[in-house]
């Protein structure tokens, strides 16, 4: 039996990064907002407690703060001709769970996408001709870099990002990223203090004529009070950052930047440990009536609402749309359908340089502390003579020396025994690692749909992920690996190893929780699920916020852009949608 509850103005599904931003903005507008969150309540003192936050086994290996596959998982395969099997454990990507979402245990690399990343199809076609991207489904976002700039600014100031601007209002700034688009002002905080490895990496990069700069970081270089009046502390370089909550209030998350204000508002409520099963549509299928959710006792509830905002993390947003019948599911054979198309990821590779005479103290680290070289990212370099589009940031961001997972050894070392032990002691402190984070461009056979076989705990189909790295992206990654090899050689050391990305995406080793697409924004309702304000084309009183909206992924972490889109959607709802609720903001 379903219990029917009193109606709310707005229901937000998921109280992570984007849910917290939307809730705070819309409660400011006086709306009665309810967030429904699948996982538990989490706060710093209790859940990221300084007495035991630094527990690698519990948080890093067993992943206590993450979504557990028994609750929801995905089936995966590399191509439509294979049989998808369930991820029995997560590996390659690790979705979040509980208040704060994946923002609790992210690293904090906070990027802006460039206008050429957003306006990509038009830009690449103009510069190289349409044939260059004939094999790819790259699409324009329907929004320009200049339009997004104020929203990036709001997210960066909310979060207290530490960094160095490269371009303020068109004027290049020493020490920043010369390839970034113009920004209206510098970051709220200066860069973090730099550890040894990124310092050497930057010197090597500079000597090759590249332009290294401090990675923009949500680990705070100084104490900070954000525009909501919430105080945050300076990062202590604890080295238990990604996969962990921060015990110092130093890593930007919903907990440290929004919730202390949001939770005090009488017109906001969160229901935790409650999973939204689907959005309920009216008989026409064109308007949402509310959502159905189930709590951990198995009780089902219908929560009526005028406006439903999905903030459940990109992948979960897409599955909820599929289970609710919002938008037609994409079919790669016909190329029709909008929900599930343009699923993209991240095309990464790694480099290690082994030294004899250096001590990097790898445990002195933070999730986003390091240096980046963007000379080969996006379209910062001329692809005219090259056989690919896209690029990668080259990052030296050594995040930790946690020894269960981080124990580099020279190639050929045994995995156990006395020889292994000796090699481990030799290399633990003296290895410099860096990596490339590459773009991932949409192609026809990379998509999401519902699995025909495997079911969740309520008997509903799991979402199926069909993905492999497109040839374009492998060529891109190889090109960037050649640049990484130049850097590695310049760094010297006794030996270096470049781990190149190969086809056959492997779901086991961790790569990145940057799953993008599936409910993409755009200008054409036949090819996108949401409009430029992240409003569903099919059901206009549903907004879908998250990296699900990215038509393809850039060589950058997504959350700066997710945060910017959250502010953009909030403004659109407040300034336009509420004047005429239920109406599309863009006519199809």
């Amino acid at each position: 039996m379903t219990n029917i509850l009193p109606r709310k103005d707005v229901v937000i599904v998921g109280l992570g990064w984007s849910g917290a931003i939307l809730a705070n903005e819309l409660t400011d507008q006086g709306l009665d907002v309810l967030a429904i969150e699948r996982g538990p309540w989490r706060d710093t003192a209790t859940d990221f407690n300084i007495g035991y936050a630094q527990d690698e086994l519990r948080y890093g290996i067993r992943r206590d703060l993450f979504l557990q596959p028994t609750v929801e998982t995905f089936t995966i395969r590399n191509s439509p001709s294979e049989t998808a099997l369930p991820l029995r454990d997560f590996g390659s990507f690790l979705p979040g769970n509980g208040v704060g979402g994946a923002g609790v245990h992210w690293n904090g690399h906070t990027w802006r996408f460039w206008d050429s990343d957003l306006n990509i199809r038009t830009h690449l076609t103009e510069r190289y001709g349409a044939a260059k991207i004939a094999d790819l489904e790259v699409a324009d976002w329907g929004i320009t870099g200049a339009e997004l700039e104020p929203y990036y600014d709001r997210f960066e100031y909310l979060a207290g990002i530490s960094g160095k601007a490269g371009n303020i209002k068109g004027e290049l700034q020493d020490g920043g990223n010369p390839f970034e688009d113009a920004r209206s002002r510098d970051y709220p905080l200066p860069p973090m203090q730099m550890t040894y490895a990124p310092t050497l990496f930057a010197e090597a990069g500079r000597s090759l004529g590249f332009h290294p700069f401090p990675t923009p970081s949500a680990n705070l270089s100084q104490n900070y009070v954000n525009p909501l009046g919430i105080a945050m502390g300076q990062c202590t370089y604890c080295g238990f950052c990604e996969r962990f909550g921060c015990a110092n209030y130093s890593k930007a998350s919903a907990q440290t930047t929004v919730l202390p204000v949001l939770m005090k508002k009488a017109n906001f409520e969160v229901r935790t440990d409650s999973e939204v099963l689907h959005v309920n549509l009216d008989a026409s299928g064109k308007s949402a009536r509310g959502v159905t959710y189930i709590d951990t006792s198995g009780q089902e509830f219908f929560q009526p609402a005028d406006l439903v905002i999905l903030c459940a993390y990109g992948l979960h947003n897409v599955r909820l749309m599929m289970l609710s019948g919002i938008g037609k599911i994409y079919d790669p054979v016909s190329g029709e359908g909008v929900v599930g198309r343009n699923y993209c990821y991240q095309t990464n590779s790694g480099a290690q340089v082994f030294f004899d005479d250096k001590n990097f103290n790898p445990f002195i680290a933070a999730g986003a502390l390091g240096q980046t070289i963007d000379d080969f990212n996006g379209d910062a370099f001329d692809h005219g003579g090259l056989d690919f589009v896209g690029g990668a940031g080259i990052n030296c961001i050594p995040t930790n020396g946690r020894p269960i997972a981080t124990r580099p050894t020279l190639p050929g070392t045994p995995k156990w025994g006395s020889a292994w032990k000796k090699a481990t002691v030799e290399s633990y402190k003296s290895t410099l690692a860096f990596s490339s984070q590459g773009s991932s461009y949409a192609s026809r056979n990379n998509y999401l749909d519902l699995d025909p076989t495997y079911k969740d705990r309520f008997g509903r189909p799991l979402m199926r992920m069909t993905f492999d790295f497109p040839d374009n992206d492998i060529r891109m990654s190889n090109y960037v690996c050649d640049r990484m090899e130049e850097i590695a050689k310049t760094l010297g050391g006794k030996q270096h190893v470049i781990s190149r990305r190969k086809k056959g995406w492997d779901s086991v080793p961790y790569q990145s929780t940057h799953n993008t697409g599936g409910a993409i924004m755009g200008t054409n309702p036949a090819k996108s699920a949401v409009n430029r304000y992240l409003q569903s084309w099919d059901v206009p009183n549903v907004f879908v916020i998250g990296a699900s909206a990215f038509p393809q992924n850039a060589g950058k972490n997504p959350t700066g852009t997710v945060g910017a889109l959250a502010f953009l959607a909030a403004d659109a709802i407040r300034d336009q949608y509420l004047r005429n609720p239920g109406a599309p903001l863009v006519s199809a």
């Binding site: 706060d43 407690n49 007495g51 035991y52 630094q54 029995r88 550890t195 009780q299 001590n359 990097f360």
Partner: protein, 250 residues
């Protein structure tokens, strides 16, 4: 690791400033409605529980002896450290197998169970507890048949040779058990025990941390960030402190 300690449940009863949304049912529910304040409470926490050595919770004495012998070959006693057995790796594994890890209670365990590609990850039906039970029995059955001895009766060099063959998948264990897969599981768990915080039963006196120079649970390195290439001067601490603090000098 029983993280879901009663503290969390009790916490609900302290939430006086917070309306508790009681589901219209009687079964236990953690579902909460929170509005109007941050529901933080002093002393509400969810600390890990210290593993106390002594006795076996999962292994039979015979299994325990085999696992102790294996972890002592994976991490042999030498000039760099004590061996895996003395470090507590077998105790660590024993306790892990009785918790959520051993039963895969957090994982997706619904069928059908089909053989997959390596890129699709472990697709077996058996959970780690079952894999240890079956794997250890299969190892001894194989060795009894081949050498007339169990694993613990082999000389260390013979044990190393056998484990090396297991690792390479060259041993055809009975009951279709994949030797490389089972060895990989034991290797992973042994390393976890050796390098995890000592509260979990392995890494006795932070032996592995002292060996590689990892300072453990220290949480503030601000004074050393820019001291490039200089050794970090402090010795490690664990979540439960240091032997020195307990008057047990090392």
């Amino acid at each position: 690791m029983s993280y879901r300690s009663s503290v969390r449940l009790n916490r609900r009863h302290f939430l006086s400033s917070v309306a508790i949304f009681l589901a219209a049912g009687t079964s236990a529910s953690f579902a909460r409605s929170i509005s109007g304040s941050l529901p933080w409470q002093a002393l509400a926490s969810d600390p890990p529980i210290q593993v106390v050595p002594g006795g076996w919770y999962f292994f039979t004495p015979q299994e325990a002896a085999t696992v102790e012998a294996i972890v002592d070959r994976i991490i042999p006693a030498d000039e760099l450290s004590i061996g895996g057995k003395e470090a507590g790796c077998a105790v660590y594994i024993d306790r892990q197998l009785t918790g959520p890890f051993g039963s895969s209670s957090r994982l997706y365990t619904k069928g059908p169970f089909l053989p997959g590609l390596p890129t699709q990850g472990y697709q077996g039906e058996a959970n780690p507890a079952q894999r240890y039970r079956a794997g250890l029995a299969a190892m001894d059955a194989f060795l009894k048949q081949r050498d007339g001895k169990s694993f613990v009766e082999l000389q260390p060099a013979e044990q190393d040779a056998f484990l090396t063959e297991m690792e390479a998948g060259k041993i055809a264990l009975p009951n279709g058990i994949k030797s490389a897969g089972f060895f990989g599981l034991v290797l992973q768990n042994t390393m976890e025990g050796f390098f995890a915080d000592p509260i979990y039963g392995g890494n006795k006196d932070m032996v592995s941390w002292r060996m590689i120079g990892f300072p453990g649970a220290r949480y503030d390195y601000r004074d050393h960030v820019t001291k490039h290439n200089e050794p970090y001067p402090q010795s490690p601490v664990s979540i439960s402190g240091r032997p020195e603090w307990l008057g047990k000098g090392i």
